[in-house]
Symmetry: C2
Subunit: 700 residues, 2 copies
Amino acid sequence: MSLEKFFNPASVAIVGASQTPGKVGYEILVNMIKAGYPGKLYPINPNAKEIEGIACYPDIASIGQTPELAVIVVPAKAVPAVMQQCAKAGVKSVVVITAGFKEVGPEGKELEQQIVQIAKQAGIRVIGPNCLGVISPIEKLNASFGGDLPQSGVIGYISQSGALLAAILDAANAMGIGFSKLASIGNKADVDELDLLKAFGSDPSVKVIAGYLESITDGNDFLREAEQVSLKKPILLMKSGGTEAGAKAASSHTGSLAGSETAYECMFDRAGIIRCSSIKVQFDFARTFVSQPLPAGRRVAIITNAGGPGIMAADAIEREELEFAKLTPKTIKMLQEKLPAAANFYNPVDILGDALADRYEFAIETVLDDPGVDAALILLTPQAMTEATKTAETVVKILRKKTQKPVLICFLGGGKVAEAVELFRKEHLPYYDSPEIAVQTLRVMADYVRWRSRPKRVVKMFAVNRRKAENIIERNLRMGTTDLSEADSKEVLEAYGFVTPKGSIATTSEQAAGIAEQIGFPVVMKIWSPDLTHKSDLGGVVLGLENKREVMDAFDLMMYRIPKKAPKAKILGVLVQEMCRRGKEVVIGMNRDPHFGPLIMFGMGGTMVEVLKDVTFYLAPLTADEAKQMLMNTKTYKVLKGFRGEEGVDIDAIAESLQRLSQLVTEFPQIQELDINPYIVSAAGTAPVAVDARMRVKKV
Amino acid sequence: MSLEKFFNPASVAIVGASQTPGKVGYEILVNMIKAGYPGKLYPINPNAKEIEGIACYPDIASIGQTPELAVIVVPAKAVPAVMQQCAKAGVKSVVVITAGFKEVGPEGKELEQQIVQIAKQAGIRVIGPNCLGVISPIEKLNASFGGDLPQSGVIGYISQSGALLAAILDAANAMGIGFSKLASIGNKADVDELDLLKAFGSDPSVKVIAGYLESITDGNDFLREAEQVSLKKPILLMKSGGTEAGAKAASSHTGSLAGSETAYECMFDRAGIIRCSSIKVQFDFARTFVSQPLPAGRRVAIITNAGGPGIMAADAIEREELEFAKLTPKTIKMLQEKLPAAANFYNPVDILGDALADRYEFAIETVLDDPGVDAALILLTPQAMTEATKTAETVVKILRKKTQKPVLICFLGGGKVAEAVELFRKEHLPYYDSPEIAVQTLRVMADYVRWRSRPKRVVKMFAVNRRKAENIIERNLRMGTTDLSEADSKEVLEAYGFVTPKGSIATTSEQAAGIAEQIGFPVVMKIWSPDLTHKSDLGGVVLGLENKREVMDAFDLMMYRIPKKAPKAKILGVLVQEMCRRGKEVVIGMNRDPHFGPLIMFGMGGTMVEVLKDVTFYLAPLTADEAKQMLMNTKTYKVLKGFRGEEGVDIDAIAESLQRLSQLVTEFPQIQELDINPYIVSAAGTAPVAVDARMRVKKV
């Protein structure tokens, strides 16, 4: 059901409107009046005739009309009764401002469930409870106690924190940022970030979506929606809550490497969401998205009246992986003809300390016309002759005329550029207080452009033996086993097209020697126990055994030593296995995030994986491009491609493995964690080998 | 000679004082007058009787007195003559504002040299030319054209860019930052950053030193001085110029890994200098150093009236590697007694959205009294009931009383907290516009405290065969060889106590087999040529040869193949060498920076070194602590210590090697670059082995 009436209702009832200044029920009514709300206002208060000159009603029924929006500020215990009134009267949109619900304990939770129940039965959508309210500057609606109506603009804002929204609104006002619609979602009893994302996504009055979130309720749905919305509108989110002091105990490499924030980061990456670290950064980013076109590429030109800030901006361009625009000979010639001889005609274009507004005008226009320039950064320091304000007026004029490329402005200083900055603020142009943050903004824009132009996502499906994998997993689950044995893990992988080394379990040293001879030397031996996970820590893995005697010795030593170190472990024997000597060790794996589902991991393998942490994660299901990109995001990639004369390995084979893994864990939600380590990859045409594999499953 | 008279002269002559507003010679005079300069002012202008009511003199001689400071603003060509006048009159401190010297080409350079010459002969100290001037708010001296006199304070500022200084002064004023002394050093013809560092270092009116530098003239002297000064006063520097598009071609691992900024970063680390990425960040850091005590440790407590910003600050604390203070039971009990039940009594202490100033007061005082808290961060969002200004007054009161621990303030929002922020600005208290930057500030403070408490630097000297190393290096230099052969490189290293593998050069396959038998199998073979650097790229390195036949085959294959791939290389034979199988590969090396001298490198070894870049650099000479710290700064350290059941290696032996290397390159400035890769390190008690070594030397 549409959320439109929350922001554009023809009539609003304020249930719990108060006559007492300072009370929330009074503040909201006054905020509605001060905002100049053009619709009908019905204060509901059985003990008052009128408040601030507006007639009161004792209850919703007595209005005689159905208000399109009800804002409830009565005490928590009275809220269910008011909800019933709303249901009876046919109100379809309700904002519950009142706190004292889920956030205060079981009793509040019970009350909140009552609200949800009534709403569901009556087809009412509810924002809140425990929220600041809803605001729509473009509709002159301020059903909140967040202060004066913010400036009108094109940002749709979603805040999970009412308290922070107060600061956000106040900061936005000071920074000249305007909004189309804002909602404080509080406890998210009904309407949540996903609903608002959908609403703002299809709302033509919203050009940029921003928000502050502490959690995302339906991870996967949110991801899918955000992915679509991002194609049309940038989404700028603050997300807090990264530190989980007692992170869950890791039972796999992949699990221990995937921090609590990894899933969110993957989701943001995949959906093209731009993460912001503070309110200021969010609005610094937003103001350029709002006012400027997207850059066609990453080539940035700088125009400055001082060398120092030009160098600082250049440093930032390199750090942010943007490109330094190379001006065409034509541009350089034009600059040389008109600028003083001491100027720098190359990027950064230094028009010197005595540059007046006209010189800025000429240089900016000339540089913007250069086809090799995708974006420009205008720097100014207030020197003796500098015309800060006049230059600002010139910049405003140019930006009205030239609207093809983003131009960011950084006038350094304080009082001397205050008038100029105020002009930019009024004109909603993107001004910054340091070259650094301006360049960071350009970087997120360029990254967003790259994200938008990524190829269509097509997930390839491989022919696999799904039935076989299912049988193994189900058999384990029936037996109550959650950590699959290495053999079972590998069988599941084989069913999905993975190659594993030859080998069998031996229970005596003679048998071990026999298996080894059959496989051919050298062999590897691994202790075989469902209870031991990190076998090599206990001396349970021996490599490169060259003959029968070495095999028999190794067997007996393991049988003697390991029970001493791990007396409780059930030891089933020793796996004697073909040794894969050629190739490089990588690790691939999966960790299932409770919100976003399977996170596929790729990284450097061996025991170093947890030390060097050269790994990347991506959300399943993976496309071929994404699998390849995962590889390219690691440093290991260079090594895999072949480095310093060493032969490279079959990159495509690894990318395919990641896709197969992605298919496996997508088809089996039972699989919670999965590690293939080491995964030995070799020259083109040679199948990679899953030397060791671990898998944890649970009933779903 | 002291620079005192630049900032505190009893009399100032302005040579080139002008009657025309807008001209630099006028502006400086007016700035001096407006600043209320209490000393004698002598405008020098042969064509004017008086300017702004002050009597003019035709030249310095005609003053009849010796001005303690002369500020020169006459055209560049006339400056040498004025310098002569100054010399004659006995002026000892001169600021040359005029531009048009070294920065404009050879003619200007010649003029600048004339100035330097005159100054040297007459014992004059010169600041500039091409600078903005000098300022001392505490002495009411404004001999600059940088605008109004800045606020008085305790910061000493050094700027290499006049244009940026204009912005810096303007921004400082807006941010409520005050200065003791400022100098724009321009072309640094005489006085440079080192002189001012010394002057500010011993100046009791300077408590914090800050600056903007693009280059450092005497790297090593600056480092040594900064190291001493940092013990007493924090040094906060912006340093730009990190991007050198065409970085020098790398001829060694160490060289290619040491970017142009590595040396600066090492220097900053070693000297305890705090690097700042922008003007705003610099003053954000400075304002806390100026107004607050240093924290005793890294434990931060947060007091907030909203959950969201508290979480954001907590995230930042984790990111910045600070510690989350754990409040004592006593503190928690006190908080529980007085705060509402819904508050959070643990860190972050959430005193709820309806907190008034008194609740803040109680919470801040209680938390600050907790012995487990080293620093506090006060957060406020302007909610309906919030008393922003009154709370600010309370904070000011508390900070006047409690001065033992740093307290940082972050009132989020805009207009609603503007009055509060203005109060903090006036009181010079550290306020921030995001929790993030406040926490960053605490981090640099805590790091600075850690730096200051580091043990005294003692560089150990090892007994070495210096004469032998000298002979080899000198022999090579006499022959015009700059890239030492592997054999010579290793001999030099042996003279300094390094162990190298056994081996000799073979020129026939039979000879190779003979050497191999003598050493014992397996052996390694390497092509021997002064012209081939990355031998493995060409197949010039073969490992693990097990018998005579393999050795002979390898020899012949190299002789057949390598001349085809590198037809111009002179091939002297093949090195047959003992194979070091046990242990881990690391790389140690040195790259000599033109400004700061030898940078010692340590990192993960093998061909992966340039891919994974798990390396650290430190400036020689190294202490034992620093050598150990270098190891600990890499991820490889975990592996070296022993990981997942693998035995660790002899960490102290590596640390000693780094110190020996440091001694070698300190004693031989001829050595420009040095790589030991791989350096095989093994279990405790086993000497590491320098398997391959390369060294580049030059005459010095």
